[in-house]
Amino acid sequence: MDIYLPVAGVSVNAFVIVALGGVVGLLTGMVGLGGGFLTSPILMFYGIPPAVAVASAATQITGTSISGMLAYRRRKGVDYRMGAVLIIGGVVGSLTGGLLFRLLQQSGQIDTAIALLYVILLLGIGLLMAREAAVALDIIRPRRTPKPAPRHNPLIAALPMRWRFYQSGLYISPLAPLILGFVGGLLTTLLGVGGGFIVVPAMIYLLGMSSQVVVGTSLMQIVVVTAVTTLVHATTTKAVDIVLAALLLIGSVIGAQVGVQFAQKVKPELLRMFLAIIVLTVAFRMAAGLGWRPPEIYSVELL
């Protein structure tokens, strides 16, 4: 069934978009990923203008994340204090990202910058997670007998002004999550992603947050930051396509609920391994894409 997208100015098959939303929603519910890192590239591949793809993906992530977050809230899986700190950093990061986006766009290097950023981030995080999960699943043995890991990363423990985050089981400086939120917000505007794929591992491995609240809290931050990003895009680039976002949402909000229920039944280490494989696959695909001769040497941009 073809549907015309009024802002994007193209016709798409509605079922393809709903199915794409469904897959992304499943990921969100299972591992706390916004899934934007899959949505935006696939939308662009489908012929939707990049600005519209990025802006509408942000809108969709808001809905998917609230759906997932509400599910986690019922299981007391959200640390509101930590979430608030992440959000403040995230909103500042989102606005900064908007400025950077425009600078890169003017110089014509936005595509390359986005692809390079993706490759570096995804490779690093994917490898880290795959190793951790493999150790936990007894697939590989750690090379040395592991030292008892320090409760906190020494760099983070050195930050001043400690707060208590009861639900996360942490006593750390709010500066650490503030910076983390900033990075997440920056990535939301720059890459059209929720930023969950960097914030979630960082919360686990750098902050040492209690794993029951990691995903829910990350989703809480993503809800607010992507909502702000949608507004920024709606008023500046005017590239938010509400029909596209609605189609993606129909698939993804349902996918997210299914994902959350599925996540309760599966070993978390398996989930992490699954996530690591997805992240690495996307990273290798993008890295290869940078080196291969692209199908189009020329590209047109309206002035």
Binding site: Y4, Q109, V300
Partner: protein, 253 residues
């Protein structure tokens, strides 16, 4: 004296032929194309009649070329090159007036109908588009970017050249189908018909065709432009509502 007279009468020859020139009565099937929820492109029919003086069709009948063009836009074309192992945008060229859509159809290949100069004057054919690149640019680079742009848009069906796209029935009635793909921008398009005989061109009056969004699609597109903050808030509200609804429904189960 005689030679002078002969020369003078030769001067009048074009006028005499001009008086016997065939005339063109062109029309278009649609003056408005509405883009609605399942718009997958449209087909325009350009048709009309050739009126020969005295109703006699000459041994070598005239040819017809039709051109449909979209609104012109200023654009930047970027070119990727391999830099340090990575394909990235390395060079760019501005064009101040690239048509968003251009489709030409003719009853015979254009190169058989008109010479280079004439086709340049009437912008007949993809290689005669007046793209207005900036001044003082290396002509080689300009040609390269032009070729890149035309190739890109040809494969998107936005630029199209059909050397046998006009059918002429009994030397009098002609018609041509022009396909408008789904991805065209909205705006005012023009349809022009050219009657070509012995390398000379008689242009018919251009017809305007409006391509517009309609109904719900028009409302959404306008809202995104005019009330952008309210539109953004509506988008956020919609996504929160759908997300919350799914959550509520699944809790029941």
């Amino acid at each position: 004296m005689r030679r002078l007279r002969a020369g003078l009468s030769l001067l009048f020859v074009p006028f005499l032929i001009g008086a016997a020139k065939p005339q063109l009565v062109p029309d278009v099937s649609q003056r408005e194309i509405q883009i609605q929820y399942s718009f997958a492109g449209a087909e325009l029919l350009l048709f009309g009649a050739i009126l020969y003086p005295g109703g006699r069709i000459p041994k070598e009948p005239a040819d017809i070329a039709v051109v449909v063009r979209g609104p012109v836009e200023p654009i930047v074309v970027r070119e990727k090159r391999k830099v340090a192992g990575i394909w990235m945008n390395a060079d760019s060229q501005r064009f101040r007036s690239a048509p968003a859509f251009y489709s030409v159809a003719s009853s015979r290949p254009l190169s058989e109908l008109v010479d280079e100069r004439t086709s340049a004057i009437y912008e007949l054919g993809l290689h005669n588009l007046q793209l207005s690149p900036g001044a003082g640019i290396d002509p080689d680079k300009q040609r390269r970017f032009e070729a890149g742009l035309i190739d890109l848009r040809q494969r998107a069906s936005l630029y199209f050249e059909n050397p046998r796209g006009v059918e002429i029935t009994d030397g009098v009635l002609y018609r041509a189908h022009i396909l408008i793909p789904a991805r065209v921008p909205v705006g005012t398009y023009t349809a022009e018909t050219f009657l070509i005989q012995d390398g000379r061109v008689v242009a018919g009056a251009p017809r305007e065709i409006r391509i517009e969004k309609f109904g719900f699609e028009r409302f959404v597109a306008q809202a995104a432009q005019r009330w952008s903050l309210a539109y953004g808030l509506a988008a956020v509200a919609l996504s929160l509502l759908l997300g919350w609804a799914a959550s509520a429904i699944f809790r029941r189960n």
